[in-house]
């Protein structure tokens, strides 16, 4: 009950923040329509046999959902600056309930971003089998776990004035090297580095929608390793973060 009360509180707060919602949902949608709408009849992007509306739908789903989860860090950094985190720590709220609320809120925003992009894709003629939709979505949900932990970690590590560039920079970089914007191929330096990043497997998960294969064992291992590492770091950062900011 306690953890649910705090989760509900977080959700209410988040959904009242109109600016947050406009940018979280608006940015990926605007980007999608800017890229995909003029090229809606291009069905052979870069000779891949994939339509542009489909390619960028799955790409922006990875980008938008990743952003939604990492951005919980920005809200945490502001709450710390306001002294709210210290106020919470002198209540009996358990660490797990606090993390739970942050993760659920982040996932709710991510789920809405994904749904809106799917709907936009369909409006531009994207059509997939039910199996594809489900497999893609399921893998994306798993691949987002490390990003939920990353957001909490960054939020408790950085301050309100440094978190913006940190999140913007890491999301852009991860999206770029993981093939969100253009295919990175199956060899070369981007691919070699990329396959050790959780974002690479997030994009691979979304590419199930463009006919890609589900994850190999490497994918599961990379995601699990990042989840464990980032969750430990998030816990550590939260534990030591008791000073006045």
């Amino acid at each position: 009950m306690r953890s649910l009360a705090y989760t509900r509180f977080e959700l209410v707060r988040t959904f009242r923040n109109v600016r947050l919602l406009v940018f979280s949902f608006g940015f990926p949608l605007v980007l999608y329509f800017l890229i995909a709408a003029p090229n809606r009849h291009e069905h052979n992007f870069n000779g891949s046999g994939i339509s542009i509306p489909l390619y960028y739908m799955v790409g922006l789903v990875a980008f938008g959902a990743m952003t939604a989860l990492i951005s919980s860090g920005a809200r945490i950094a502001i709450e710390r600056t306001d002294g709210w985190t210290r106020q919470l720590r002198i209540t009996p709220l358990a660490t797990s309930a606090y993390f739970g609320a942050k993760v659920i809120t982040g996932y709710t925003l991510a789920a809405l971003t994904i749904t809106l992009l799917y709907a936009s894709g369909v409006s531009l003629g994207v059509s997939l089998s039910a199996e594809r939709w489900l497999e893609m979505t399921g893998l994306i949900i798993v691949a987002l776990i490390p990003f939920a932990a990353l957001g909490i970690f960054l939020g408790h590590l950085l301050t309100a004035d440094s978190i913006g560039p940190a999140i913007g920079g890491s999301v852009s970089l991860l999206a770029l090297v993981s093939g969100t914007w253009f295919p990175i191929g199956s060899h070369g330096i981007l691919h070699d580095v990329g396959q050790f990043l959780p974002s690479y497997w997030l994009v691979r998960a979304s590419h199930v929608g463009v006919g890609g294969q589900a994850w190999s064992a490497t994918g599961w291992i990379v995601i699990a390793a990042w989840t464990v590492t980032l969750a430990a770091l998030a816990r550590f950062a939260y534990r030591r973060d008791t000073r006045r900011v």
Partner: protein, 318 residues
């Protein structure tokens, strides 16, 4: 670690020490304090900025661990007392979390505690029922401060800790605030508040713990603190008197010269003035002033040698 647990003692600090690292140097914030507070006491932690009050409060709340020494609340580590919901606190920060109303904030907070007060009653008690449905970021500083007080109270804690609670409140709000604190304390609850307002410590605390440079320099009933540094001073124009001779007059604890005038600190000003006039009939412009807590405060926390305990300084004065 403590070997015995005294259940009547709500708060125990033994040799609590905390240093911070800043720019490569180690800054001692609290230098070994021993404090014991009984159930039902209202205690003021009084001291100038940098005295170590907030660090002490952070240690009490388990937000920071002491480098040395022990802190216990109700015979347990602070974190356990917090987890049991025994502590309510108002920290020294101005802002409230955004995008909610005070009522929602109180309801959520109340739900975290085993035996919280009724939210509507708390809104009334603190006098914020009229702003209960406004958004928190639209409240004035004083209103936000009262909401934060309500957050500390709604859990109906056994121990209430307030860090500089009235900063930013106007006179009216301050009066209302202290009335609520008194009402709360009257139910047998323990209250600790940090302040640098002497009048607040004087008016609302049973006991004052005076801190300076990370140490407790005085600890006792407010009246005792006042008595401790001589209750009165005599000031007179007396150009030729010897300072040592003046200091040895009956009832005088210290003598100081300021130009043509002398200032005598007295433990018994009646005896001192008789002796002064008998020995120096030429003394003129005589003033006898009562020392408020203000002077006790200046005396005990005066910036002297940072490394020596302030008690040394008193000996120098005598």
């Amino acid at each position: 670690m403590m070997t015995t647990i005294n259940l009547e003692r709500d708060v125990e600090l033994h040799g609590a020490t905390k240093r911070f690292r800043a720019h490569g140097t180690v800054v001692p914030a609290v230098r070994g304090i021993d404090v014991s507070i009984a159930s039902g006491e209202t205690v003021a932690l009084l001291g100038p900025n940098g005295a170590g009050k907030s660090t002490t409060i952070d240690m009490l709340l388990g937000l920071i661990a002491p480098d040395r020494g022990t802190v216990s609340l109700f015979g347990r580590p602070p974190a356990q007392a917090v987890a049991r919901g025994q502590i309510g606190a108002m920290l020294q920060v101005g802002a409230l979390i955004r995008d909610v109303t005070p009522r929602e904030l109180l309801q959520m907070t109340a739900s975290l505690y085993p035996s919280a007060l009724n939210v509507e009653d708390t809104l009334e008690l603190v006098g914020i029922a009229d702003i209960a449905d406004r958004r928190t970021h639209k409240l004035s500083g004083g209103q936000a401060q009262r909401v934060r007080f309500a957050l500390a109270l709604v859990s109906d804690p056994a121990l209430l800790i307030l860090d500089e609670p009235t900063v930013g409140m106007d006179v009216e709000a301050r009066r209302g605030f202290w009335a609520s604190v008194r009402q709360f304390a009257a139910r047998g609850k323990t209250v600790i508040f940090a302040t640098h307002y002497l009048d607040e410590a004087d008016a609302y605390a049973d006991r004052v713990i005076l801190m300076a440079h990370g140490r407790v320099v005085a600890d006792g009933p407010t009246s005792e603190i006042r008595a401790r540094v001589g209750s009165r001073t005599i000031r007179a124009t007396l150009p030729d008197a010897n300072r040592t001779a003046l200091a040895s007059l009956p009832g005088v604890t210290a003598a100081d010269r300021r130009g043509e005038a002398v200032v005598l600190k007295c433990s018994d000003s009646d005896a001192a003035i008789r002796a002064l006039l008998a020995a120096y009939p030429e003394a003129r412009d005589i003033e006898i002033a009562g020392a408020g807590l203000e002077e006790a405060f200046v005396e005990l926390t005066a910036d002297g040698d940072e490394t020596s305990p302030p008690t040394d300084r008193q000996e120098v004065l005598v």
